[in-house]
Symmetry: C2
Subunit: 396 residues, 2 copies
């Protein structure tokens, strides 16, 4: 993967270290540092059960400023009570000592097993003793936060704002327990664009909603989902504010970056052999369209049929039928790829032809309800024996 | 399976025939006949997409009377439009010709592949040409309606009403696509109890809600789910009416019979190696308790952990956390079998001991939220590679 190309924004430095959080043998801590204080924004899991680092970050994000992110893989520091919260604070303290920056501007993220305490004393010693920042790359950081991921996930984009080039680069981890809203998923977005806090928050919410909230692997939602953005302004553009042309450019670029990462996460879905795009058209509202798309995208029977290259549209329409939104089954059209398998709710007798479409690496299932004009798309993947193996043996 | 014991109510006769609905080689049509007209009650799928036989039965059940049930496996007659509805009518007509009874008192059920038309001409000829009713047993009928089931499902109970013995016997099919509410599931209940239509409806709704609506295999819901009851009164008891002691006896016996069948369905869950009971206690309402229990019972991560004998309570509490009902994570206790793995939201460090409990054929996961006094239980099963194999290859 050494040939992965990406643009890097100005003023961000990285280091990765081994702390044997779960077991020795790999760098499992990533530290991201902005040479100047950055505007910070974040979105977090909506699970009632929130991991300690999420609770800490949710407090700190209110300050609107960020200087660093310290993240570990191997242990989620979730369901760890008061001790877990103190451990998250200690992680940030260690990074603030190492980086000589305010502890309140350090964000923390953890991913891995739930319910076990962090080996915080070892982590604290190792992090606070780091002598150099900048000896690793953003790609190294992407590798350090991987758990069941099979490849590091990185994406970037550049925009021109009044003659100044601003860069957005982001890394993510996530392969399982992926579900709306968001995923077990960490994503760190770094940009040198100058932007106001309000505009950054607005852009992040929109971009997240169009990307990570539109993917699903297994319907489960994590306790640790976190997307953090640091915008340090070193591109020296005129600060972007909401409602401007520059804002739309920034928001669209951010959406593209997050969508690229979201697609990588689905592609890397545990055990997945193919990406499944569920596109719902002709719904009465975007909410309805999303409900239908998620029901299909999460259906085990649809996911296994896609895996088996079976154009089993009966499972698709049955999943829609239990989604909780009314419709006329005999107005529905269903396509697998470009082949219409159902017209007005009845078979077109093209299942064999449609099955060929299911051999592709990305399969699109389109459902048109002919009720209205709203549409929505959800990305998912097929369900395979390998998913079972990975998740039956995860902790052993 | 010839040593299966069951009680049979008076006045019911059976026949099974081969019509090669999907392919030749087995008896795939069951006909159940009451020698006298019976009080009839039914509950049906809440899927928006309802199969033709369901639509027909929903009309006929309003008449409150039933004489016969004709059911086929191999084809669901779902998503088959006007033709499908006519085909369901033809099935009932064939049975009414054979049995010399009113067509409006014949109920129809189908299970199998969605979207393909029934081979109705062959079915009509074969059914209407049957010369003898009574040459098969109720167990033969249970076998004829099997699809991916690995064993026939039959249960019975007897009650004494004022010195008269009334018998309830029922058969069911279902192994996949099992989900609240109900399952891909056909269930035919036969009883010689005398009971009013209102009382029978009330008893069936209660018994169904306590049994079939409390099981899940894969979160999918079928287009064909049907529970039909015929009560022919030949036990000659004083007709049971609502609110009486006899009514409660009948309702409880019916619940027991349906619960036995529900447990068999879960045990026979496609690819399942063990039954998973999710018991939620201490919720603020039964609705909340049921929401939590279903979220855990349907979680792929929990189901794979149970398969892998991993007491991964983090997945259990994370599933609760995304169920949509608020709670305090640090008030929660979780048990695997008799081993408390979580106390007040924190690990008791007994995961290894708890993993031993997961080696049993039936695993109970108990979650106490300590919010109130309501409880609910949902039955499910583990998720295995075999489920994927069965459902990836179902139509091939």
């Amino acid at each position: 993967m050494s040939d992965i190309q990406y643009h890097l924004p100005e003023g961000f430095l990285f280091t990765t270290v081994e702390a044997a959080v779960k077991k020795p043998g790999r760098k499992d801590i990533a530290i991201i540092y902005s040479t100047v204080s950055a505007v910070a924004s974040g979105v977090f899991t909506s699970n009632v059960v929130k991991a300690a680092p999420v609770l800490l970050d949710m407090q700190r994000i209110k300050g609107g400023k960020g200087r660093a992110i310290v993240a570990n893989s191997g242990n989620a520091n979730a369901c760890t009570g008061k001790r877990g919260f103190k451990d998250a604070q200690k992680m940030s303290l260690a990074a603030s000592i190492m980086l000589e920056c305010p502890e309140t501007e350090v964000f923390v993220a953890s991913t891995g097993v739930i319910g076990a305490p962090l080996p915080i004393d070892r982590m604290f010693s190792i992090i606070s003793a780091v002598k150099t920042i900048g000896d690793s790359t953003l790609l190294d950081a992407a590798r350090a936060i991987m758990t069941t991921d099979s490849f590091p996930k990185i994406a970037s984009a550049q925009i021109n704002i009044g003659g100044k080039t601003a860069t957005i680069a982001a890394i993510a981890k996530g392969a399982g327990m992926i579900c709306p809203n968001m995923a077990t998923m960490l994503c760190f977005v770094l940009t040198d664009a100058a932007i106001t806090k309000d505009a950054l928050d607005e852009a992040l919410i929109a971009a997240n909603d169009n990307s990570f909230n539109r993917i699903t692997v297994d319907g489960d939602m994590s306790t640790n989902d976190t997307v953090l953005v640091l915008a340090n302004g070193l591109a020296a553009n005129k600060p972007i504010s909401s409602g401007t042309k520059a804002f739309n450019m920034f928001k669209n670029a951010l959406s593209d970056v997050l969508m690229s990462l979201a697609e990588m996460i689905v592609k890397d879905g545990e055990g997945a052999t193919k990406v499944m795009k569920v596109l719902v058209k002709g719904a009465q509202s975007v909410d309805d369209a999303t409900i239908f798309a998620r029901a299909v995208a999460n259906s085990l029977l649809v996911k296994t049929a896609v895996y088996g290259c079976d154009a089993n549209w009966g499972r698709v329409i049955a999943a829609c039928g239990r989604a909780g939104v009314d419709f006329d089954p005999y107005a529905v059209d269903i396509f697998f790829g470009s082949v219409r398998v159902v017209k007005n709710g009845l078979t077109t007798n093209k299942d064999a032809e449609a099955a060929q479409q299911l051999k592709a690496g990305t399969v699109t299932i389109t459902i048109n309800f002919r009720l209205g004009k709203a549409s929505a798309q959800v990305l998912s993947c097929d369900l395979t024996e390998e998913y079972i193996k990975i998740n039956a043996d995860y902790r052993t």
